[in-house]
Amino acid sequence: MKVEQPKYKTSDEVDFVIIGSGAAGGILAKELSTNGFRVVVLEQGPYLTEADYTHNEIKVLGEDLLTNHPKSQPTTFRKTPRDKAKQHRALVYGRSVGGTSVHFTANFWRFHEIDFIERSKVGAIPGANLVDWPIQYADLEPYYTKVEWEIGVSGLAGASPFDPPRSKPYPMPPLPVKSSGVIFERAARQLGWNPFPAPMAILSQPRPGRSACMNCGFCLSFGCEVGAKSSSLVAAIRVAERTGRCEIRPDSYVHRIETDARGRAIGAAYFDKDKNTHLQKAKAVIVCANGAETPRLLLMSANKQFPNGLANNSSGMVGNNLMLNSAAISMGVFEHPLNDYKGFAVSRILHDFYELDAQKVGFYGGGGLDGRFDATPIGFALNGLPPDTPKWGSAFKKTLAENFTRTMEVFSHGTSLAREENSFSLDPELKDAWGLPALRMTYKDHPDDLKLVKWLNDRALELLDAAGAKKKWSYPITEQEFAVHLLGTCRMGNDPKTSVINSDHRTHDVKNLFLCDGSSLVTSGRGQPTMTIEALAFRAADRITALAKSGEISA
């Protein structure tokens, strides 16, 4: 399935070097190469395609086939900057061509108008660094539409009364409903809520070179062997490669962005598979390495001109304001088999609680619920049974046999308030297998995030009651110590003193350095960031193209 691509020399100063091939990097590669630029994409992970993906849980989950490696890339965690961080697996992200978009759930919610202007609407929140975006929903709407049509998103326009305005319907109908979706829909309507078909970045209809979803049941955590899941690999990188101007260079672990005496980026230094170092020269550098690795790379690129990290002179904010999204899970067991292990994860969601009235509920925030099942047999046996189930013996076996096909989840997704001291930074002691400083995560949820997710979870339990669940329970809601959504760590803003990039994704401090990924987000949205990351990437590509064509970048 690989397409022939150019091979640039590292000494060949290409127009753009893009670091990371995930949701944002893949789209920028497609757009910029289509616009005539010469592009090299450096991806730390291997180049895997449909032929390499597998339903073998051993390879995927055990060998971290698609994700970062905790042994060679250890991380540390602490709750506050006053604590000493301890070694702890703090995060997971995609580590192959296509990044996390290869293995994600593919829930594809747009942000709503409120997500961009919430600070103005709700005012300051104590203990939080909540600010408005420098752009608004209307600026991004054309790009949300572009994402839906270009990469392939299934859904039903107009099905949710809370949806923001859209200029076009979805390009294809929603995926089929699962039993969890029917249960979710019926119960939610009984409660007067507004469930609707989940917008998913999974094809309900085939596209050239890509099959519609076969409902194999190995979706979340797995790569799609038939190209139905709209990863940036199948939906963007293949297009970039066909331009003949884009080289995807896998197994290339960037550890430093080099600058010249004028403080301009000259290229990216990386380790190849054999740990030899190279410097890929470029007229401009675009970092799309994710909300953890992007700030880490800037911090590792510190030099005399940028003693606190590259692009970190004006604000000192590189790595700060980390947001993870708040989440809770309630489980329900039903009388008849749902067989929800078949198919993708989510078929119905609701947004009735997207904007809660803080005066009424007593805390800031909002979110959505989805109905789903996403467990595999061993994980289900270890973690998916009601907490009062014996852990072994006949009763354990009986409950396991009964529940696997009869269980569903109601997943609550909510806002995360930015707190300046929540961050990704460099651990002062721990090194990775390349001798580079390990990622250190500092994170403590804002109290409102925890209140919100408890409130949402109560609605989830109401829903399971209304649905007639024979049994229901929730996983404990505790402070988060593990990150999946990596947001806000190089936030966008007009003020160089408080933000890292401007609304063109250009760093305030380095003219030919751009950042675009989860780190760009100013607010967390309601739990599904990828759609917005991709819309931002399409928009960034337009902005960067305009700047390059007007000679602004090289000037």
């Binding site: 039993s179 955590s221 996983y475």
Partner: protein, 219 residues
């Protein structure tokens, strides 16, 4: 793998469809352990244990058969879990060896203490065995599991439990563990990898999406 709460989650559960950290951390080697058990069983020859002595193997067999017992459906024994664990302990789960080295003599002491006249766990009745396990469980209380981000097993009993479940439920299509697919049959997971709706009981009569207003008008 993936967030204790989130997505995938991964995968992780990521994301995800996710298994416990123990299983996932050791999974590549589980393949070879399970293959080994299969070959041993299919060859019809006496299995040569690599970690356990024959006496220890008898104890482990009896223990795993109480974790997933054989009743009117197959259990750990029929899935070949003992052989899976033996192989595991000399390969991917070699880090757990000490738990077994310490745990088996402790078990022995416990049996002697609780069941005078009974020489070893495997010689006790099922009821007596369960009693011993309950005692062990109480003395080796684990922290409650966290969603999708389990710490590796801290105790002998928990290590054995996770290993037994893994050997019982590993994907049979890989030709590895879960002999004859007995584990998946038990839980009702069909072996295919492509499905068409309707998937289950609740979606089979679904009339198709209708806006809420339309539904209300009909009433």
């Amino acid at each position: 793998m993936i967030n204790e709460l989130s997505r995938r989650r991964f995968l992780s559960q990521a994301g995800i469809a996710v298994s416990a950290a123990w299983a996932s951390a050791h999974w590549p080697e589980m393949v070879s352990a399970a293959t080994h058990a299969h070959q041993a069983m299919q060859s019809g020859k006496a299995y040569k244990f690599e970690f356990f002595t024959p006496a220890e193997a008898t104890e482990i067999d009896a223990l795993s058969a109480r974790i997933i017992p054989t009743d009117d459906t197959p259990g750990a024994r029929e899935a070949g879990v003992l052989y899976f664990i033996d192989r595991a302990l000399v390969t991917f789960a070699s880090g757990d060896q000490q738990k077994y080295r310490d745990g088996l003599p402790e078990l022995q002491n416990l049996v002697r203490e609780k069941l005078p006249g009974v020489e070893k766990f495997s010689a006790a009745t099922s009821e007596q065995q369960d009693e011993v396990l309950h005692t062990m469980e109480a003395s080796q209380a684990e922290k409650p599991p966290r969603r999708r981000n389990l710490q590796s097993a801290q105790t002998f009993l928990e290590a054995l439990r996770v290993a037994t479940i893994s050997g019982f439920l590993i994907d049979p299509e890989t030709g590895l563990g879960n002999r004859g697919g007995v584990g998946w049959k038990l839980i009702g997971r069909e072996p295919e990898h492509s499905f068409q709706p309707p998937f289950g009981y609740y979606d089979k009569d679904y009339p198709g999406w209708q806006p809420a207003q339309k539904m209300a008008d009909k009433k």
